[in-house]
């Protein structure tokens, strides 16, 4: 037995290093200049530990001065009968999905803004109302926003929510990673209240290591996928689970960043304003030639 595992060890190491080499190259390509590995923080959500107590929902509302019922009402599990989404009244919500086998416990999954490394909302916003901070947080600035809702069109996770019922000053609402709390050294409200250590707050790079170590330690418990490590260029919030991610409401997304194609088209068309100016010059030339030709025609 020891012999075999030794050989296995070498095999795995060789395979791993090959994978790592391949992965690192895609990683560099996938992540944008917004992502600062040393500073970027994140949260690892271990859905296998979540009991669906929804205290995070309550804490989030309290931390953001949003109206909420008392904490006891969150014990009501009938809300799990329908799939909910974060909206302008709740920046984070927990949904419940059937377990792997019929006799197993259901799987509870918390949803909130993923705080992408290359956020589509930041790229799309017409007035730069979204900002990606060095610690990974994506925040929204109400003094700039014009309410065009292009961020909602752009977001691959359908996160930004708009106050459609307001005629004046409708806001875009989304999780702000408790930016005001983390600034003064506090934990995000949901992480702080979680009774079952579902949520681990820390440096994103370290969280990725922790996640892979957990998968390695309990290969029967987890599927070998850290959701958010590579999806749309990587996200600050990442998930571990016992079931395929798409079955838990986590969409199957490519590794390429969400704004990548759109930005390269934009920058290609407007490279130092050369293409528009060149078009102007060509059209001017054509106009001039045609005018002269007309004039010489009439002179003859």
């Amino acid at each position: 037995m020891p012999k075999q595992s030794r050989r296995d060890f070498f095999k795995t190491t060789a395979a791993l290093s090959a994978v790592t080499a391949g992965v690192t190259s895609t990683k560099i390509k996938a992540e944008s200049k917004d992502y600062i590995p040393d500073k970027a923080m994140g949260v690892l959500i271990d859905t296998t530990a979540c009991i669906g107590c929804r205290r995070c929902e309550w804490a989030c509302k309290v931390a953001h001065d949003m109206p909420t019922a008392s904490l006891d009402t969150y014990n009501d599990r009938t809300v799990f009968n329908e799939m909910r989404r974060p909206d302008h009244t709740a920046l984070t919500i927990v949904n419940e999905y059937p377990g792997k086998e019929l006799d197993q416990f259901p799987i509870d999954v918390k949803f909130q803004c993923m705080h992408c490394n290359s956020p589509a909302c930041v790229s799309a916003c017409i007035v730069k109302a979204f900002h990606k901070h060095p610690n990974g947080t994506v925040t929204w600035d109400g003094d700039k926003c014009i309410g065009c809702r292009y961020c909602m069109v752009a977001c691959p996770f359908q996160i930004p929510a708009f106050e459609f019922d307001k005629a004046i000053e409708p806001d875009i609402k989304k999780c702000d990673f408790c930016f005001e709390r983390t600034k003064v050294g506090k934990l995000p409200a949901c992480v702080e209240i979680c009774p079952n250590e579902v949520l681990t707050y820390g440096k994103r790079e370290e969280l990725i290591d922790i996640a892979h170590k957990r998968i390695e330690l309990y290969p029967d418990k987890y599927i070998d996928h850290v959701f958010g490590e590579f999806e749309v260029g990587g996200t600050s919030w990442m998930y571990l689970s016992s079931k395929e991610m798409p079955k838990l409401g986590l969409p199957d997304l490519p590794r390429a960043t969400a704004p990548g194609v759109s930005e390269s088209i934009q920058h290609g068309l407007f490279a130092y304003f050369v293409p528009p100016l060149a078009l102007y010059a060509i059209l001017g030339g054509v106009m001039w030639i045609n005018k002269n030709r007309k004039n010489s025609d009439t002179e003859e």
Binding site: R149, P156, D165, P170, S262, I265, Q266, L269
Partner: protein, 411 residues
């Protein structure tokens, strides 16, 4: 050479039964619009966090911009390629474009949650955003269109400024101002004409870039990196059909002889333009192998097929047929089909193709949304009718004695 045509204000009664219907539609639309501004977007529309954009963006804005393409395509044909024959249609197309873009701006404002901040993009720039590019270009182009329209205003009022009451004291100075503007514009107009064409090419294509960032939320039949090119090509190929469509309608409405010769000339250009658009659309589909989604029959594949066959292939065949382009009904039907195709294309791109990851149902525009959209169209037609009665826009047979210094101007 046939009789000389000269743009003149049309002298007819403004109110007709058709106009009354338009006034009612416009009034209903404006009522819905009022409700939107008082009670918010959610009160009038079916928009939600799943479907943030609806027909106000897909039709009022995106289609509005595409159908106003007649402005820059005729400007390019008449002024840049210097085909004097087409000068008679430049002014109606210019008026349509100026009105169209005005309503695009109004529609954008209607759809903005914080419409009173519409000026923010002027000072808060985001060069990464396709929407920023569209916004800035449309704002500048709208200004350019108004400048291009100014010579028509000066032509109408020079020597004819006659303000009522105490305002008549300003008659002379306003007349001087108009003459001054006329002189300046006569020398500098070419700058604006070229700028108009460049700006149009830029934002017509960037409008296509808009939806690219939505990634796989957009159906693969439409989601492609060449969207900006497809949008530009479709805008260019819908420009002249729109001019033909309008020209035939307004000549019927005002009991004028249709400018058959000019329209036929335009029709001969449309065929090749449509062919280029079709080639890129099919080529894109073949390269990305997106035709696999046409194998099964559902709403999406049916709408794509209608867009392609009824909106491009059928009119393409018609524009290449001599008997079709010689007859006014033939021209009208073929042009209408191209317009329908682009209408469907913009609707497909912005509404039909958009499937959010957590959709709980489809988006169907509300009565309020449809009323506002129809109301804007009705209002636009009414203002167009009023404008051609006030300003010299539509060319008519010229009475011999009315030749003046300002009668020969192009633009």
């Amino acid at each position: 050479m046939e009789e000389h045509l000269k743009p003149m204000p049309i002298k007819r009664k403004f109110i007709t039964p058709g106009v009354l219907v338009l006034i009612i539609i416009a009034a209903l639309g404006m009522t819905a619009l009022l409700l939107r501004y008082i009670f918010g977007i959610g009160f009038v529309t079916n928009l939600s966090n799943q479907y943030p954009w609806g027909i106000w963006i897909g039709l009022d804005v995106a289609l509005g911009v595409a159908l106003a393409a007649g402005g820059f395509t005729t400007a390019a044909l008449g002024h840049i390629l210097h085909k004097d024959k087409y000068h008679a249609i430049v002014r109606p197309a210019l008026l349509t474009a100026a009105l169209g873009y005005t309503f695009v701006a109004v529609s954008v404002m209607t759809d903005l949650g914080r419409w009173y901040y519409i000026w923010h993009p002027l000072i808060m720039w985001n060069g990464n955003s396709a929407l920023f590019e569209v916004g800035i270009c449309v704002m500048i182009y709208l200004t350019v269109l108004y400048i291009e329209f100014l010579p028509i205003v000066t032509e109408r009022f020079i020597g004819r400024v006659n303000l009522p009451g105490f305002l008549s004291a300003f008659n002379k100075s306003i007349d001087k101002l108009l003459r001054f503007l006329d002189r300046i514009l006569d020398k500098t107009m070419f700058v604006f004409i070229i700028a108009g064409v460049v700006l149009s090419c830029l934002h017509q294509s960037s409008l296509g870039t808009l939806m690219i960032i939505s990634g796989q939320k957009m159906h693969p039949l439409w989601q492609t990196p060449v969207l900006p090119l497809l949008f530009l090509l479709s805008a260019i190929s819908v420009g002249f059909p729109m001019v033909i469509f309008e020209s035939i309608i307004s000549s019927r409405s005002f009991k004028l002889k249709p400018e058959t010769d000019i329209l036929k000339g335009l029709a001969d250009i449309i065929g090749p333009l449509l062919a280029i658009y079709l080639a890129f659309k099919i080529g894109d589909m073949v390269i990305r192998k997106s035709f696999v989604y046409l194998m099964e029959i559902n709403t999406v594949s049916v709408l794509f097929t209608i867009e392609l066959v009824v909106g491009i292939i059928v009119p393409l065949r018609m524009f290449f047929s001599r008997t079709m382009t010689k007859s006014i009904p033939g021209l009208f039907i073929a042009s209408s089909l191209v317009i329908l195709g682009v209408l469907l294309n913009r609707l497909n791109n912005f509404v039909v193709a958009y499937t959010p990851p957590y959709a709980t149902g489809p988006y169907i525009p509300s009565v309020g949304e449809i009323l506002v959209t129809l109301g804007f169209v009705a209002l636009e037609v009414l203002i167009y009718r009023a404008a051609v009665m006030i300003f010299p826009v539509i060319s008519q047979p010229k009475p011999a004695e009315s030749v003046s210094k300002y009668s020969v101007k192009g633009v």
